[in-house]
Symmetry: D2
Amino acid sequence: MKIQEGSYVLLFHTPRKKWLTKVTADKKIHTHLGVIDVGATVGMEYGSVIRTTEGKVIFLLEPTIHDFIMKSERRTQIVYPKDLGFIAARTGMKNGSKILEVGTGSAATATFFASIVKPDGHVYSYDVNPDFMEIAKRNLEKASMADYVTLNHHDPHLGVEEREMDIAIVDLGDPWTVLDQVHDALKGSGAFVAICPTMNQIEKTATELKKSGYADIETVELLIRVMEAREGMTRPSMRMIGHTTYLVFARKVQKKAHTIDEQAEEGDEEEREGPEE
Amino acid sequence: MKIQEGSYVLLFHTPRKKWLTKVTADKKIHTHLGVIDVGATVGMEYGSVIRTTEGKVIFLLEPTIHDFIMKSERRTQIVYPKDLGFIAARTGMKNGSKILEVGTGSAATATFFASIVKPDGHVYSYDVNPDFMEIAKRNLEKASMADYVTLNHHDPHLGVEEREMDIAIVDLGDPWTVLDQVHDALKGSGAFVAICPTMNQIEKTATELKKSGYADIETVELLIRVMEAREGMTRPSMRMIGHTTYLVFARKVQKKAHTIDEQAEEGDEEEREGPEE
Amino acid sequence: MKIQEGSYVLLFHTPRKKWLTKVTADKKIHTHLGVIDVGATVGMEYGSVIRTTEGKVIFLLEPTIHDFIMKSERRTQIVYPKDLGFIAARTGMKNGSKILEVGTGSAATATFFASIVKPDGHVYSYDVNPDFMEIAKRNLEKASMADYVTLNHHDPHLGVEEREMDIAIVDLGDPWTVLDQVHDALKGSGAFVAICPTMNQIEKTATELKKSGYADIETVELLIRVMEAREGMTRPSMRMIGHTTYLVFARKVQKKAHTIDEQAEEGDEEEREGPEE
Amino acid sequence: MKIQEGSYVLLFHTPRKKWLTKVTADKKIHTHLGVIDVGATVGMEYGSVIRTTEGKVIFLLEPTIHDFIMKSERRTQIVYPKDLGFIAARTGMKNGSKILEVGTGSAATATFFASIVKPDGHVYSYDVNPDFMEIAKRNLEKASMADYVTLNHHDPHLGVEEREMDIAIVDLGDPWTVLDQVHDALKGSGAFVAICPTMNQIEKTATELKKSGYADIETVELLIRVMEAREGMTRPSMRMIGHTTYLVFARKVQKKAHTIDEQAEEGDEEEREGPEE
């Protein structure tokens, strides 16, 4: 595929020296490797090579959503690919899935989900913050996903319209405050997931989910470790991301089906065992 | 959605006591919680509740591909959801993606990818083992994905027909033996990923990728940790999966664009830094 | 060193097939590898070999405290070697150190610390539970550490006698209830560490430490991962211990030296940064 | 304990703003928090407080070996406290232990071990590099450990003099080259540990250990994770050390006691199991 004006390209030299940029005629980027003539890439194939003014090799890569997320400036507020990908795999997200999202943010997450559930699925996303809604709208159009995402500038605490949703994703500081509204929106056995950075949030969310008509509640975290895989010298990288977020999963069931005895049972299962060697 | 004869249902009591079964009239399952009348679930809604003969609550959950994978018997050979989800997110997999898969196995992986790339995308999967091909065919039909996956009973070492693939996934014991064939099949800048359980495999694969016209080579592993999130007693679970596999990612670029100096450069970046606190 | 009657020996075949036992004349152990004639080891050297009645090789290893801990029956209540070792290294524990221990348990921990701080150091250990005190006394005598550990059957909440302690280790369900008593017992700049399995405990302990005349408060957890290191097939083990405990470290300083502004400062340091790649 | 001229003090404001320095009269340190009058601390108690010229609180902490290691400049070459502590705990290191060390480096490790095994134990350390020997000598004297460490400027490949050692620690790039020499030096059942940063090293070392009269061979890595434990907002730190080193443990046994069948057995144990959930 050929690079066009207005396309995005990832100018890649090495993992630590790469730049994500929009291609415009006459654009040049000044780097410590020399000047990169971005405008000259128009008409070239993705995967081909140009050189900087100092002769360094630059690969012209086609950015994926992973590149956009990892190059984002708002690093403390993004949801990482490892977490997005696991949410998709864990909830059975696929073409045709109808997704309720509470907490749109910049729509990065909605963009990712829409790319998977389209063309037969849809994302219905709620946020009360008008600024986010504006940014979200622009980002969705830029990513050509606007047809598959409906933005609702409503307070989800007042209830949401949607029903029979396959999956609900909640990205709020206090996810336990929308469990009933989400319960109404989900189909029976529909998947729930809350994005919770702190242990306080997972404790509160899991506790409330149990009382609110959800079962199969599981909280996880995913850690990613880069390996330096080199001939004769393979080892893990010395640096590592320590934490992004916890994820609390559950499924909508009939309300009030748990008795106190059964709640106690689940807790017991773990206590009786010690750590596995 | 109502449960029908021939549907699958996940009979859920607690995380450690659940059963995945196909619903047929007159089927009963004997468990230590009592007998579960599976046949009686026909016509009931997913998310509703039945009780065993001893009065224990059983939720009727709709199984997702995650449930099928985690309940699979061949646990040592599956690719886990955390790895599948990350492969999807990391490679930008979405509706319309054309995927080349080398190593079909039981088609569990092809099924997952097809569910994402359909209806506009397709998976082209190669395996030399005729037994796998039979099992794969049946599994794809069972999962209603047969229209989106082409099974090729050919030795991929002899070359593959496909061209301009968006993503290539290699699940072989010796992935470095098909790098040229995969390179021909990928579009420029197309994504490559190899599933490599051992350190020896990642070392060999990464080393050969570098010489074979691939850039942005990164090897990672994902660890998943379950949290026991309970009121007043939140902590990580005492047990944990220690390892599933490493994943080697790369992107197809023009061949022979790396000089020896530039290869050395990438190695240097890491050596100069120490561990980050 | 020769094995004697009354010695302990670790009968080792493979990592999963080993037995820790006390040597007595005429003792035989029946295993699925055959019968092991334990009595016959008297007079043999540690490190030598005997065979079972089925000809399997058994190494006669001299057990270390690591073996005793890992073979302990009360697995859910032990402090693991990785945590004990880090406590020692992190607090600067060495010959001559005076250690205050709150929560004796079975004295396994006191035994380990005494082995390091002897002969010039000492462990002063408190527990209110009379049963533990009896067991502890016997264990210390068995380990020949009784001279270096003073057991106090007192409630440490009522205050402890000791002063100018180098290190204080607290293993209670509610460590924040003894911070003042421990503060009085420690020398200036003395090290504090609390063994806290849950998030709730570390949150409460760290918060109270800050208000109680302690600085340099740091909470950590250590994860241990076994590697299967074999020719051509090296990878991490598939199983892993998910969690043992958190450790909260601090140092005694002058009370009331923190202003509200400075407390806020520490919190800010972390917020401003995002995850490191 | 009072601070004296020539003492070391850790000037602590917050975890990220602290300085380790030697106290001399008239010394002042200029920091972005203001000027710290180091000379003025002479005669003050460790644990007390001074203020910078801008009124910021500085705690006067007594540095432990942990502080010295973490503040070391040669971060890529140190052995971290978590690894040192585990080596001590895992090998049963205690007062009286006789330790053979191959690879002295700067003697940081010998200093730590000597502090534990003194006064009845001893460290015998070998290194061929004369520069290291000079630095090591000075560091040991500075740490008052010179009486407990014997430095041997010999090539250990030519054999070592010591016999009946309790523990042997090898910190070389190619530890498998000294296994016989170390075997001769260890007592029967004596502990062996090699510090190996790469997977290539652990593979080679573990493979050779098996053939060289060692049993109970286990390779591990320890990961340390800092927790931000704050009221209402407890979570893991966003940054993390990705890797320091692997540790290969073993014990000396009689040579040639393994048959080919038994070696195969150990390998089988792991293969039959899949990952534990």
